[in-house]
């Protein structure tokens, strides 16, 4: 069973449906026992970093996610959920994240050429840098759906794939049992479903 962490941000209908579509049982929950008994965890998220980080802490889910990740359970952060995995974010100030991955969240405006629209909204290609279990079914240049104004910088060895939006932007990260996608696999058609399927086959560390 997959536990999709419910901490009061965003719409999780499509995410849960996408797991159903690949024959996986997913629940949206903030129940510690269910999260503990889940085989893997998904951390979703849309909106502002500071607000999401606060909600995640306030409902005790930050601690739960950290514990489960430390225990080796596969964890997938999606969009803002991916950004929350990092040490900190410079989105409207400076805010602490979960610190599971090294790096910081910065505005894409700092690196992309002037004149490109912000947020990046739409389908863009994946450029694969390192092998990663959740990308086992993915080919260089496959398209996925992005909606974001910030990106993960200085990811070091955990940088797995980028996308080119006038500059290379972090698209996929991973370190051990912790994975993150800046794009929305649940909105990326068959390519996205293939990533979710591969995540469901990752063994705990």
């Amino acid at each position: 069973m997959i536990a999709i962490i419910d901490y009061g941000v965003g719409n999780l209908f499509s995410l849960r449906s996408s797991f159903s579509a690949i024959g996986e049982d997913a629940v949206v929950t903030r129940d510690r026992d269910r999260i503990r008994s889940a085989d893997r965890i998904v951390l979703p998220g849309v909106g502002a970093f500071a607000d999401a980080a606060r909600k995640l802490s306030d409902c005790g889910m930050a601690e739960a996610v950290r514990e489960e990740a430390a225990a080796g359970k596969p964890l997938l952060g999606i969009c803002l959920g991916m950004q929350l995995l990092f040490e900190k974010s410079y989105e409207f100030g400076e805010h602490e994240g979960l610190g599971l991955l090294k790096g910081a969240i910065r505005p894409i405006a700092e690196v992309i050429p002037a004149g490109l629209k912000i947020p990046q909204i739409g389908w863009n290609r994946l450029h694969l840098l390192r092998p990663c279990p959740i990308l086992s079914g993915i080919r260089e240049g496959d398209y996925v759906y992005f909606v974001h104004s910030f990106y993960a910088a200085d990811c070091g060895e955990s940088l797995i794939a980028t996308t080119d939006y006038g500059a290379p932007l972090t698209a996929v990260v991973s370190k051990g049992n912790v994975f993150g996608c800046q794009f929305h696999p649940e909105k990326s058609g068959s390519v996205g479903l293939s990533i979710l399927r591969a995540f469901c086959e990752v063994n705990p560390c």
Partner: protein, 256 residues
């Protein structure tokens, strides 16, 4: 580079697609769910469901259809039609919509765009504007294009984007249904005025019209159409192949 999006729009009344279709191999041509699955598997980058239901029962049916579509189709889904309040946003977002398009609702209640953007994020709020030339200027129309609001369109769009609209659909009443091509001067004027994604609607008749659109106005992010897709006059896979050949960045779907 980010790709130009192709978006079919499905008008839904009482749970059925209003404009008929003539696809071979589609069992139920007026089922929004079947049609959405068909488009998704043939390369549509996004779908718009437009609710043109007047009755409460029809509205309930619409949300059921939406839910069923969101269970089966995994590309972005925008919902419009009859969105006049935050409760309406809530209703369709809970059923699996990713974005909500507001038109007359924003004209009646100008604070709606700002309030919705604050609650759900700008990425969720799409301003849809029906625009027609009146006495040499672009005028915003309400109620499905039947009523001239007297408001100047570019100023209206700019204001809504400042309030938090994350995308703008420009529907030219002047070119809509004519199939003579998109309204390039109107689109150029909107692209000049705002920095959020602009979606062109109204006027597409052929693949060539899309090529002209994206070549002439680089600021346009997406092309939206309804009947030409429904009637198979333009096949999305063929359209995308020709866009790619013309050097326009476009998502091609590989066979799994």
């Amino acid at each position: 580079m980010i790709t130009k999006r192709i978006i079919p729009c499905l008008d839904v009344r009482d749970g059925r697609v209003v404009k008929g279709t003539n696809f071979q191999g589609l069992r139920d041509v007026s089922s929004p769910v079947s049609l959405a699955e068909y488009y998704s598997s043939h390369g549509a980058d996004e779908l718009v469901f437009y609710d043109i239901t007047a009755s409460a029962e029809g509205r309930k049916l619409f949300t059921e259809i939406l839910t069923e579509t969101a269970r089966r189709v995994f590309i972005p889904l925008t919902v419009g039609g009859g969105i006049g309040s935050l409760e309406d946003f809530d209703r369709v977002l809970k059923c699996g919509a990713d974005k909500v398009s507001v038109n007359s609702g924003a004209i009646r209640n100008p604070s709606l765009v700002g309030e919705a953007a604050k609650r759900y994020g700008s990425q969720c709020v799409v301003l849809s504007a029906d625009i027609k030339r009146v006495n040499g200027r672009f005028s915003v129309f309400a109620k499905g294009g039947r009523e001239d609001t007297g408001m100047e369109a570019i100023g209206w769009i700019r204001r809504c984007v400042e309030e938090g609209a994350g995308e703008v659909v420009v529907n030219s009443i002047d070119t809509d249904g004519v199939k003579g091509g998109f309204d390039l001067p109107m689109l150029a004027a909107v692209c000049e005025a705002v920095s959020v994604p602009v979606i062109a609607s109204g006027g597409a008749g052929t693949i060539g019209d899309f090529l002209t659109l994206f070549r002439t106005i680089p600021g346009v992010d997406a092309g939206l159409a309804a009947s030409i897709f429904h009637f198979g006059e333009v096949e999305i896979s063929e359209l995308k192949r020709e866009m790619a050949e013309a050097g326009i960045p476009v998502r091609t779907v590989r066979n799994a």
